[in-house]
Subunit: 406 residues, 2 copies
């Protein structure tokens, strides 16, 4: 199941990026399970990674390599997460980077490795290494769609974004691909996102945009509250457009690019939610009127993670009592329940500590029947606001996740 | 569905407590939906209540009355939670207390009100008031079993505990009854527990035992992570046993009574988990080796609330990758993944950041097939330990909670 309209766009080439997709036979012979991305010399790269203490070997290695060298290649495999694989996992991830470096004549530290798939199984390094020469030969500027498919695991559709902006007569392009929603299937891990632009951006500025955009997108979506061992998001600037380098977080070019990148991150994040496990609803949850962003998020996650609210969404039941209870048990100091307002779509359902006088169940029912549902909560005590995206909890979710690992 | 063996015990009388159960016709005519409990003069009373900001009117009134007067009556209705009912809800709860006070010639502040059932509907005060004279007349020392049934909502079985201890030739009795698991059914709220002893205990000591015992029991169980608007736990000491009053939190009598009360609270809490919605597994989760109780609980709730782990439990799947991922994303500073050990039953499944060398899937499968599953996590960095009890997440949970409110 999948909800919402997230068609895969026609992806233009992006100067400075070549991609290829290959079959290494990691889980099944013939499946495209390996993606190689080549970045032009002079590209800057930034990344945000899972904070999971059991982060996978490739994540540890990504962090190291980003601090050690200019990045020239990204190697992504699906079918095996190389997570919870101890010392051997680190050696295996490094061996894959070395295979790319050997084939391309570069440094091992210039390769970033990414893995997604089963946790706790040794990475089949030989199969991956054997597929690398072919992947290098096949590198092509037109590889975006194939790459989006190559990184899929249990995703039901590839996820992509493309957008452009004009600045001083020049065209800047942003392309992005992503996969998977958090912990997807038995032992399947990982959200991965790769976003690139041909603008020229100094590394510190790129890093701050990456953090900020991820915070407003990938860190604002939740399917089941679980954070995987492999979650990674990488932002690349190839600098191939003939415009001055962005060296400060200010100015018209910076603002325009930042806005387009936030749009790219947000679209990819939303497309992940739309492809959430067993999802039948796409839910936009806005918490406003908070004294801080933190308390808006606290309330938002309390609502978004409540199995009672998620099952009510699945049932299209405008069960305002459950929403109110979840707001009430969020960890917010001195929340005045009588100041809180809750809206389903445009319908005011809760005010002054109880059901709104104007509210009728028919109104709520009408909103809840939709595939896309918005819930807005006004805490009535400040000026901060946050938006999250999530899904319902269906029989299908239980079925997918209770299925024995295949 | 319900798991585990929690038979309702033969409850002896407890000197200083009389109970009655009546039909007020709150939701359905003829159903026993009202319980009155009378406490002997001189009883001391302590309570812990939900921290939900949308706490129900009766909870607010309980807190007020406990601070204003000696408590002589507890009035509990099922079928309506009197929650999210605004000012009217406060007037209604007070009116019920006044009805009891009027009939018994006492003070309104000496009555504690409790409600459980549908959220957001006005309390039918007239029906309740009309049933009170009969309830007063019917008060009897032998009413424990009927009372345990009268407070049930969607519970599939009544929950009770009884125990005794001998001290200097005298017998002290502890009786307790409880209902419900958190937010149970569409708009059904509330965990309620009433525990009484005939020992004589000064109010501050009783309050500290109540807080401590609730913390080790009702605050350590979770079905779905949701905390209701009405959760209440009350501890009563009638002082009818001819022994000195316990005025300090020390000494043999204090220790013996405290231990028996913790056992009462824990048994009732576990019986609530065993009757959790759609539960097919009773899970005991122990987190040891923490640097603080807080971090043990952080890891414990991270695991206990993970829908991925709960669905794996439902499927009897020893999916250690999901357990490891949930430990990893718990908010624990500088957790060294390589020091963590995880056991399923007695079987070591994870060590040194990955699957234990000695572990075979057959071993894990054998443990997971059981109705009672224990998961033990050793963080390997300190001396603190905490235990939680929870359930799995089944199709039945989704079915119960996705059913439209009847």
């Amino acid at each position: 199941m999948a909800v919402g309209e997230f068609p895969f766009p026609a992806m233009p080439t992006l100067a400075g990026i070549r991609l290829s997709t290959a079959s290494a036979g990691i889980k099944r012979a013939g499946r495209k399970d390996l993606v190689l991305m080549e970045l032009a010399e002079g590209s800057t790269v930034a990344g945000v990674f899972t904070r999971n203490a059991f982060c996978a070997a490739p994540v540890t290695l990504c962090r190291q390599h980003l601090s050690q060298a200019d990045i020239r290649y990204l190697l992504i495999n699906s079918g095996n997460a190389n997570a919870c694989t101890g010392e051997q996992g680190m050696r295996d991830a490094l061996a894959c980077c070395a295979a790319v470096a050997g084939e391309t004549g570069g440094r091992v530290e210039s390769v970033l490795p990414f893995s997604t798939g089963v946790i706790g199984e040794p990475l089949p390094v030989e199969k991956i290494s054997a597929a690398i020469p072919g992947a290098v030969t096949a590198l092509d500027e037109n590889g975006w769609h194939d790459a989006a498919q190559g990184i899929m695991t249990t995703d039901t559709r590839p996820k992509g974004f493309t957008g452009q902006l004009e600045y001083q007569g020049k065209t800047i392009t942003v392309n992005g691909i992503a996969k998977g929603a958090g912990m997807i299937r038995p032992n399947m891990a990982t959200m991965l996102a790769f976003i690139a632009t041909d603008a020229k951006v100094a590394e510190p500025v790129l890093a701050s945009i990456c953090r900020e955009a991820a915070d407003q997108s990938f860190n604002r979506i939740t399917i089941d509250g679980d954070t995987s061992t492999n979650d990674s998001c990488v932002l690349i600037a190839t600098g191939k457009v003939d415009l001055p380098e962005i060296t400060e977080a200010e100015g018209g070019l910076y603002e325009a690019l930042r806005e387009l990148l936030v749009q790219a991150f947000t679209t990819l994040a939303q497309s992940i939610v739309g492809d959430g496990e067993g999802a039948t609803k796409f839910v936009t949850l806005t918490v406003s009127g908070g004294r801080s962003r933190a308390e808006c998020l606290e309330v938002g996650y309390s609502v978004a993670h409540s199995p009672l609210i998620k099952t009510a969404l699945f049932a299209s039941d405008p069960n305002w009592g459950r929403i109110v209870a979840a707001i009430g048990y969020a960890d917010v100091d001195d929340l005045d329940a009588s100041a809180v307002r809750v809206y389903l779509g445009d319908v005011l359902i809760v005010e002054q500590g109880g059901r709104a006088a104007s509210y009728t169940e028919v109104q709520g029912q009408e909103v809840m029947q939709r595939e896309q549902v918005s819930i807005a909560i006004d805490l009535g005590r400040g000026d901060y606001s946050e938006t999250l995206w999530t899904t319902d909890l269906s029989y299908e979710y239980v079925r997918i996740n209770a299925d024995y690992r295949s």
